[in-house]
């Protein structure tokens, strides 16, 4: 009896989490003018409309520039920080992690307006560079937390052995340390990529002019229900869910 109840509950929650996303993907492949039933026919109609729209391609290009920049920078600096923190005393490291994770807890709205006011004050013109800077604030905590969790269990005897066998510190890092932690680092990088691709609010306040995919969607949600949003949504879902899934698979995450 209890088994059935828990199973039913889990099923309902999974449906609740997945259904909206599944519907977006489903309707992106129809030519319905409104997103509702009945479904007319399978069609790439909305993808063709997007393809013909130069603004979409510009937003797509901007999204890739921003996300790849954010991924590269936050992975490098986050990994470096995590490796240092992993050798700190546990209490000190935990305090530092708590502080570094604070931006993730706050509403993105507050981070967005704080950055807008700050960039304005110090005279930095808004551009894709300021968007990248803004994204770093929310992506680097994830990289640090993920890599730190791996590094605290790292067996430094392996590195010491490499040194003992004649490897320079540099060589020991690239031949021993990095191969051991690389799957975790790649996993963290893909999570950073997913967050950056998905971010709308911080981008909105720090971009100045132009669009990324989420702000492009925003412009469309604002006007009226344009089903081409389903197609952009499917592209975003494919990219973010895809990179998350690959990240999980690579790092064998189990919660």
């Amino acid at each position: 009896m209890a088994r059935i109840a828990w199973g039913a509950y889990s099923g309902i929650i999974v449906l609740f989490m997945l259904t909206p996303l599944v519907l977006v993907v489903l309707f992106s492949f129809t030519d319905n003018a409104l997103t509702n039933f009945p479904i007319n026919a399978f069609s790439l109609h909305w993808y063709r409309i997007l393809d013909a729209n130069p603004e979409f391609w510009k937003a797509f290009e901007n999204s890739l520039k921003v996300s790849l920049g954010v991924t590269l920078i936050s992975t490098v600096i986050g990994t470096m920080a995590a490796m240092v923190l992993a050798r700190w005393r546990e209490r000190l490291a935990n305090a530092a992690l708590l502080a570094l994770a604070a931006p993730v807890t706050l509403p993105a709205l507050v981070i967005g307006i704080a950055l807008l006011v700050f960039f304005n004050k110090v005279g930095v013109p808004l551009s894709l560079a300021t968007v990248i800077a803004g994204h770093l604030v929310i992506t680097q905590p994830f990289v640090i937390l993920i890599v730190y969790a791996r590094m605290v269990n790292f067996d430094y005897a392996a590195v010491d052995s490499a040194r003992d066998l004649g490897a320079s510190p540099w060589r020991a890092f690239w031949t021993v340390t990095f191969p051991i932690v690389s799957s975790t680092v790649i996993g963290a990088a893909l999570i950073a990529l997913a967050i950056s691709l998905d971010d709308f609010i911080i981008t909105f306040f720090t971009i100045g002019g132009g669009n990324t995919l989420p702000t492009f969607v925003w412009g469309k949600v604002r006007t009226y229900l344009d089903p081409s949003i389903n197609a952009i949504g499917t592209i975003l879902i494919t990219l973010t869910v895809g990179s998350t899934a690959i990240a999980l698979w690579i790092s064998r995450y189990r919660g």
């Binding site: 509702n36 470096m80 700050f118 604030v137």
Partner: protein
């Protein structure tokens, strides 16, 4: 080595945040910011936006409680009842974590709308003969949409803390005479209070600061403070007022979180 990360944290988070706090005591004169030390922005926030503030705290509280309870039960099911499906359930949770913030809001708008999926399904099935308007443009739609967005985020910290709860402890409690309810209340919940609080804190603050969801599915009577804060920056350019509103909602939010933490402290063992 920790330098670059520290620089990002200090220059792009601490400094802007501190400066925004300073600006909340400034004045706006003729579209120019003027340094000052005045509490006028705060008193005006309370006077002009008292109702949106109160409403935001109430709806965010409701969303956070609902999300945390649903997340706890789901994480509990994964931890103790899912068996070989545990990894699959966890996987679904993780991939929906980053499934598109705006896309999710848009999806709910298309599901709940008057010409939306729910109504067209009900019409097709002949359950109703007129589209229902009760699904969207009300606080309920905001609760559903934000709960959907926040749920994966809340499941993860709760699950992480539930993983630390050992079966032997639960059996020991039963052995000492505790029934199912007492085991739950005395052993399970107190051990994952940190995870529960993390889930509640995330959900509450993010819900309280959201402005996109209420604007698109909330309708005219769902006036949340985030909507007004965003307006101060994109329409009225009154940054000091927007800053004061931001810190007011953050302060009130943190106070409520502290209160909840204190109340849950009653579950600590004697």
């Amino acid at each position: 080595m920790i330098g670059p990360s520290g620089a990002v944290f200090l220059l792009l988070f601490v400094a802007p945040f501190a400066f925004l706090f300073v600006v909340s005591f400034w004045r706006k004169k003729m579209f120019v910011l003027e340094p000052d030390f005045t509490l006028v922005n705060y008193s005006e926030t309370l006077a002009d936006y008292g109702w949106p503030l109160a409403f935001t705290l109430m709806i965010a509280f409701a969303i956070a409680v609902l999300t945390t309870v649903l997340a706890f039960l789901f994480a509990y099911a994964i931890r103790f009842h899912a068996g070989r499906y545990a990894n699959a359930l966890l996987f679904v949770t993780l991939i929906t974590l980053f499934g598109g913030y705006l896309v999710k809001i848009y999806a709910w708008k298309t599901i709940l709308g008057t010409e939306g999926i729910l109504n067209s399904a009900l019409l097709t099935l002949g359950i109703v003969d007129q589209p229902l308007t009760v699904f969207i443009y009300n606080p309920g739609a905001v609760v559903v949409t934000l709960t959907h967005f926040l749920l994966p985020l809340a499941v993860l910290p709760v699950f992480a803390s539930l993983r630390g709860v050992r079966e032997a402890g639960l059996e020991a409690a039963r052995d000492l005479g505790a029934g199912a309810t007492r085991v739950f209340r005395d052993i399970v919940v107190p051990q994952c209070l940190p995870g529960i609080m993390a889930a509640f804190t995330f959900s509450f603050l993010i819900a309280a600061g959201d402005y996109v969801t209420p604007r698109y599915v909330g309708g005219p009577y769902t006036s949340m403070i985030g909507d007004f804060i965003e307006g101060q920056f994109s329409l009225r350019f009154d940054w000091p007022a927007g800053a004061a509103m931001s810190f007011t909602i953050l302060g009130a939010g943190l106070a409520i979180i502290a209160l909840v933490r204190w109340a849950l402290g009653a579950l600590r063992p004697r």
